[in-house]
Symmetry: C2
Subunit: 431 residues, 2 copies
């Protein structure tokens, strides 16, 4: 495909008008200011449009979209214990499959080209990712509630390792497998320690919920005399790549550790607000040079999987909370939502509009009321755009979404299946 | 028009499936659960859709959409003095006309059926509102910088009164005129006092910026020994209907005054965050029984005019800031964005899906990825919907927007004109 006469967000996150971008064999083959020679197949007229790197949703739980709108305005403990856990108890791989497909559809139409997913019912999620040709870093969530843990005998661990063996690097690398320790508060020390030992001997990204709520953070300090970050560092987890989700309550020392160890922090501003967890100190993390990425968390706590909404939140929240309009620039926001996310996923050839990089690209229609006047495209994309501006989403050169239609997903069918599942589950729960 | 087999958000903000809603002579003529008799003209098949009251954007400055993306990441004083004021100096009624039309288009496509606008270049705004058949409460902003004020000789006051004389109640009541005192900090005491006297003798809503920033609020206390709210109360302004925008820094006593005097507070969460002004204490205002409405403020500080984004912000911000997931219910959010706004505008027959009320209605498409599963429509609309779900916007029974098309606005032409104006202005400013 050749994008012709199109505005682009270049690798420095500057806007350039009237460019040509060629895609071959799933990668960006050329970026130039005049028509390149050669046959690219379809020529896409980019007049009035902008091409930019696809968004990376660096923390979500796809099947939980089945719980959208099901459990609202409850504090985290009641939300989990009274609503989420009983519902999840009724799920299986088939139900998770449909929920994941729905999530992928919503992410594609809102410009997300890759996502990091932590959950269970792994085979259902893998099947959905393959059917939809989605780019995913998946990790089977590991939790433990007893002290007598034998890592390799644990059912959750077994599933995590089997999935890694079976799927890591498959689908031309679109599927990557990470290792997920659910969190400090949902694991016993022996599991945390053995997880650290395993990670030290293998090459996986550790995907962990860290300091999401004040009580989680403070209870850990009481229990271990360490913050969750310090605890995970003490067992060696941070010696390998880490993706830490939330980090709302981390302290200065935790942030210094992130910077020193190269930990990626994934902020989920919408979910943190809605669950009453607080606001991540993005500005301080950026000042310290931490790789900050952005995620939606699940549609059960967000309640959408719309990275444009998260971009807006992450751009304006730090300003409002710190009473400073001059922090967190639009360029920094674009980086957080794209290349920083790709880095957090260990995908060094994704997240930038750069020759040789994977063609994970989205097209925004700028001929819409919310994009005029065209004074500054970067400002408009971060502060004014929304998912309705997304008209094309391409992953590895494959156009998965275009003008309201999905290449591999029948969204109305998927929606009906999800409606059916929720009716069945709520009936099974006697609701 | 007859909406057939459609889900509705009823006057109690409950969801009802499979309803029939008839519109005649600009009003809702019937709401029933079976097909009514009579000829309604077009029958609209509402399968998979929800009909709800249109959103009321209760505080904006329409022509400022011309400044979208023009002045970013600056503190309020530099934003105003270095960027906004010099730009506004180059505007005129013709330029304001195009900016207003653009704003109206953006509001219609995102489900806003009525808005409260405070600005100048009044004739340009009135012309745009008439051409677009928009519902608007307009007020000519009054400010003053000298002590020797003679109210009726002031040019701004003259324009405000002339516009009121000429337009109030015109266009079948779609155009209403309010009186705008810009703020305490942009007016001298003699003007504030004389404004109060005028308001006491006439029937207008006072539209005022109140306690938007901490410095504004604190400086007023130093100068007068009163908060802005107490000051305005002392000159009698609160004895008539008031629409106070922002109210980020109001104290407990101010809030009690609002409740006692029936002042409507319009929160603009997006603008307040982006300008680093802070977060309005919505929850406390609601607890005290204050009529809280929602506004976008201008696209120069927001940077969109998307009430779905503001609804989401106003639903999740109080939870995140107060670390309480159980406050501000989805129903309260819907009320704030609809009927409370209509009340703030003095439009007692707008903002509810109720027989006899004005047919200011929007249709949401629920057959979209972000609206499945259909467990709870109210939750989905507040927490998951966005403007891409809006497929029809009706004002006084007239379909002004439908499936991407505007009845009275050529949005690409308006966009081109706005681009041209910005190029001319920036050239005139030597940029």
């Amino acid at each position: 495909m050749l994008f012709k006469n199109i505005g682009i967000i270049d690798e420095n996150f500057d806007f350039k008008p009237n460019m040509y971008v060629g895609v071959k064999d799933g990668r960006i083959s050329c970026i130039c200011d005049a028509q390149p020679e050669g046959d690219f197949g379809e020529v896409y007229d980019g007049t009035g449009k902008v091409l930019m790197p696809g968004l990376v949703n660096a923390h979500t739980h796809s099947p939980m979209t089945l719980l959208r709108g099901y459990a609202e305005n409850l504090p985290l403990d009641r939300w989990l214990n009274e609503k989420v856990f009983p519902f999840e108890d009724r799920l299986d791989c088939d139900r998770a499959y449909w929920g994941t497909l729905l999530s992928i559809a919503e992410m594609l139409e809102s410009g997300t080209t890759s996502f990091s997913d932590m959950y269970f019912f792994s085979e259902g999620i893998m099947r959905a990712a393959k059917d939809a040709h989605a780019k995913i870093n998946y990790s089977r969530s590991i939790s433990s509630f007893t002290e007598d843990v034998s890592f390799f005998d644990d059912e959750r661990v077994k599933e995590a390792l089997e999935i890694a063996e079976k799927y890591n690097g498959t689908e031309d690398g679109r599927i990557k497998i990470d290792m997920a320790l659910h969190s400090e508060y949902t694991n016993t020390y022996p599991m945390i320690e053995q997880f650290g030992k395993y990670i030290g001997e293998h090459d996986f990204i550790s995907h962990i919920h860290v300091s999401e709520t004040e009580s989680e953070h403070e209870n850990c300090k009481k229990k271990y005399g360490k913050t969750p970050t310090e605890l995970f560092e003490s067992v060696g987890i941070l010696d390998k790549p880490c993706l830490f989700a939330h980090c709302v309550w981390v302290d200065e020392n935790d942030m210094d550790i992130f910077a020193r160890k190269g930990v990626s922090v994934v902020s989920c501003p919408g979910s943190n607000l809605k669950l009453g967890s607080g606001v991540c100190n993005i500005n301080r993390l950026l000042e310290k040079g931490v790789n900050v990425a952005v995620g939606t968390d699940s549609a059960s706590s967000n309640n959408a999987l719309d990275m444009f909404r998260e971009m807006y939140l992450i751009s304006v929240l730090p300003k409002g909370i710190n009473n400073r309009a001059d922090i967190v620039s639009p360029k920094e926001v674009l980086k957080m939502a794209t290349v920083n996310g790709a880095r957090a996923q260990g995908r060094g050839d994704c997240g930038l509009l750069k020759e040789g990089f994977r063609a994970d690209l989205i097209v925004l229609d700028m001929n819409r009321a919310n994009m005029y006047p065209d004074y500054n495209a970067v400002n408009n994309i971060v502060y004014s755009a929304d998912k309705s501006n997304v008209v094309l989403t391409m992953v590895d050169g494959d156009v998965l979404y275009r003008d309201g239609r999905f290449k591999y997903i029948d969204v109305e069918k998927v929606g009906r299946e999800c409606n059916r599942i929720v009716r069945e589950v709520t009936k099974e729960l006697g609701l």
